[in-house]
C-alpha cells in the first residue's frame, strides 16, 4: 500500500499542539535499558513453560492435532 500523504500545516494551532505534546513527553519518567532489558528477560523466562510455540506440546493435549473424525459445530 502506498504510504498516505502527510498533512502538514503552517497554522499556529498545529505548532502549539506540537509543543504541548512534546512538553508532556519530556516530563516522562524513564528507566535505563539495562533495567528494562532485565525485566524483559525475566518475563520471557517466567512464561516460557506456558508458551507452546516455544516448548512444543504433547500430542494428547494438542487441540489442533488431527482427529480421526470431524465434528460439525
Amino acid at each position: 500500500m502506498e504510504a498516505g500523504k502527510v498533512y502538514s500545516s503552517n497554522t499556529v494551532l498545529q505548532a502549539r499542539k506540537a509543543v504541548e505534546q512534546l512538553r508532556l513527553e519530556a516530563g516522562l519518567e524513564r528507566i535505563k535499558i539495562s533495567a528494562a532489558a532485565a525485566q524483559l528477560v525475566q518475563y520471557c523466562q517466567e512464561n516460557r513453560r506456558g508458551d507452546p510455540l516455544l516448548t512444543g506440546i504433547a500430542a494428547s493435549s494438542n487441540p489442533f492435532k488431527d482427529k480421526k473424525t470431524c465434528v460439525l459445530l
Partner: protein, 376 residues
C-alpha cells in the same frame, strides 16, 4: 489498490463567523466544529503568549525534540542481547503448515482469531469470511466495497466487525445457520472520512476501536454507534492498532504512515508516548520498551530487503513472527535478536500474521489468496 486519497472539502457557514467559506473540521475539547481557516488562526492566536509566533513555537518544538533524543540516548547503557547472553539459545524451530485455507477468491488482507481458539475471521478484497479451523462451517458475507482491510472477532465469539474502503466499520452477528443472510443483519458502527485500516473490540463486545486513513483512531459504542473518544495526533494515515493486553488497562498503540507509533490513553484521548523511526529505517522490525521510552532491539538482516507488514509475539514474548512482502515469514528470537527460522509458505506478500489466543498455533494470510494454519 488505492493510490490516491481524496479529501472532501466542506463549504458552508463557519461555526464562528457565520460566513460561507471552505471549512476545516477541527476538534475543540473533543467536540467537532467547523471553522473557516481565518477563524482557526484567530482562535489559535488568542492563546499566544507575548512574542510567540509560529517560528518561535517551531524553534521550541525542535529544541524539545533534541532534548528528548538526548534524554533517550542517556538510557542506552547496554544492548538487550547483551543482557540476554546467559539465556539459553533456542533449539531449531520446526513447524509445519497443517492446513491451507483456500476459500478466498482474492488477496487476504486481515485475519483475527476467536477467543475459543477454534475459529477465525479473515477478510479480503471482496468477501469477509469466518472459518472454523477444524471444520469447514463457513459464512461468506459480501461487502459493498472492494477492499475489506480490517476484521475482528468480538470476545464473545458471536459477533464480527469489519470494514475497509467503505470508510466504515460494521458489525455482523454470527449464526450457526448456514442459510442465514448475514449481510441483512449488518449494523454500521464506525464512520471515518477515509478508509478503515484496522479494528479491534476492547475487552467486551460493547466497544470497538478503529484506525483510519483519515489519520485518526476512534472508540465507538457498538450498540448506539456513538463516538466515545477520538484520538488525534498522527499526521498521516494510521495503518494499524493494538490494545495493551491487560484486563484493566486502558491503553493502545497505533502505527501510522508518519513513521510514528503512538501510545494512547483510551479514556482521555491523550497521546501518552510516541516513537518515531527514521528515513533509513526500512525493512526492520523494532522493539520499543515503554518504560525506557525508546527502542531496545532491532530485528533485521542485510539479506532482508522487503518490509514487514505484520507482526505478532508468541505467548511468552520470546518469539516474534513477522510476515514480509518477500512472501516469507521470519521468526526472531526477541531477546537475542537472531533469526530462528524462515517460513516459505506463500506465493505472494504476507499481509497478516496472528498467533492464536492459547499460543498453540499461528495463522498467516497472504495476497496469494490463502491462509496458512501452523500449529505446534
Amino acid at each position: 489498490m488505492c493510490d490516491q486519497t481524496f479529501v472532501a472539502i466542506t463549504f458552508g457557514p463557519c461555526d464562528s463567523c457565520s460566513q460561507n467559506k471552505p471549512l476545516m473540521n477541527i476538534y475543540l475539547q473533543n467536540e467537532p466544529v467547523n471553522y473557516c481557516s481565518l477563524c482557526v488562526e484567530l482562535m489559535a492566536c488568542q492563546g499566544l503568549a507575548k512574542g510567540e509566533t509560529v517560528s518561535t513555537l517551531r524553534a521550541e518544538s525542535e529544541n524539545l525534540k533534541a532534548k528528548l533524543e538526548e534524554e533517550r540516548a542517556k538510557l542506552h547503557d547496554v544492548e538487550l542481547h547483551q543482557v540476554a547472553e546467559k539465556v539459553e539459545t533456542l533449539g531449531q524451530f520446526v513447524i509445519k503448515t497443517r492446513r491451507t485455507l483456500k476459500g478466498h477468491g482474492n488477496k487476504v488482507l486481515c485475519m483475527d482469531w476467536c477467543r475459543d481458539k477454534r475459529r477465525m475471521v479473515s477478510s479480503s478484497q471482496v468477501i469477509m469470511r469466518s472459518a472454523a479451523v477444524c471444520v469447514l462451517q463457513e459464512h461468506a458475507v459480501t461487502m459493498p466495497c472492494t477492499w475489506v482491510m480490517a476484521c475482528a472477532y468480538a470476545p464473545s465469539g458471536c459477533v464480527i466487525a469489519c470494514g475497509g474502503l467503505d470508510n466504515k466499520c460494521s458489525v455482523y452477528p454470527l449464526s450457526l445457520d448456514k442459510n442465514e443472510n448475514l449481510a441483512a443483519k449488518k449494523k454500521s458502527v464506525a464512520m471515518h472520512t477515509n478508509y478503515l485500516s484496522a479494528c479491534s473490540f476492547t475487552n467486551s463486545d460493547m466497544q470497538l476501536l478503529t484506525s483510519s486513513g483519515d489519520g485518526t483512531c476512534a472508540l465507538w459504542d457498538v450498540e448506539s454507534g456513538q463516538l466515545l473518544q477520538s484520538f488525534h495526533g498522527h499526521s498521516a494515515d494510521v495503518l494499524s492498532l493494538d490494545l495493551a493486553p491487560s484486563e484493566t488497562g486502558n491503553t493502545f498503540v497505533s502505527g501510522g504512515c508518519d513513521k510514528k507509533a503512538n501510545v494512547w490513553d483510551m479514556r482521555s484521548g491523550q497521546n501518552i508516548q510516541s516513537f518515531e523511526t527514521h528515513e533509513s529505517d526500512i525493512n526492520s522490525c523494532r522493539l520499543y520498551d515503554l518504560r525506557a521510552d525508546r527502542e531496545v532491539a532491532i530485528y533485521s538482516k542485510e539479506s532482508i530487503i522487503f518490509g514487514a507488514s505484520s507482526v505478532d509475539f508468541s505467548l511468552s514474548g520470546r518469539l516474534l513472527f513477522a510476515g514480509y512482502n518477500d512472501y516469507n515469514i521470519n521468526v526472531w528470537d526477541v531477546l537475542k535478536g537472531t533469526r530462528v527460522a524462515i517460513l516459505f509458505g506463500h506465493e505472494n506478500r504476507v499481509s497478516t500474521v496472528r498467533v492464536s489466543p492459547d499460543g498453540t498455533a499461528f495463522c498467516s494470510g497472504s495476497w496469494d489468496n490463502t491462509l496458512d494454519f501452523n500449529p505446534v
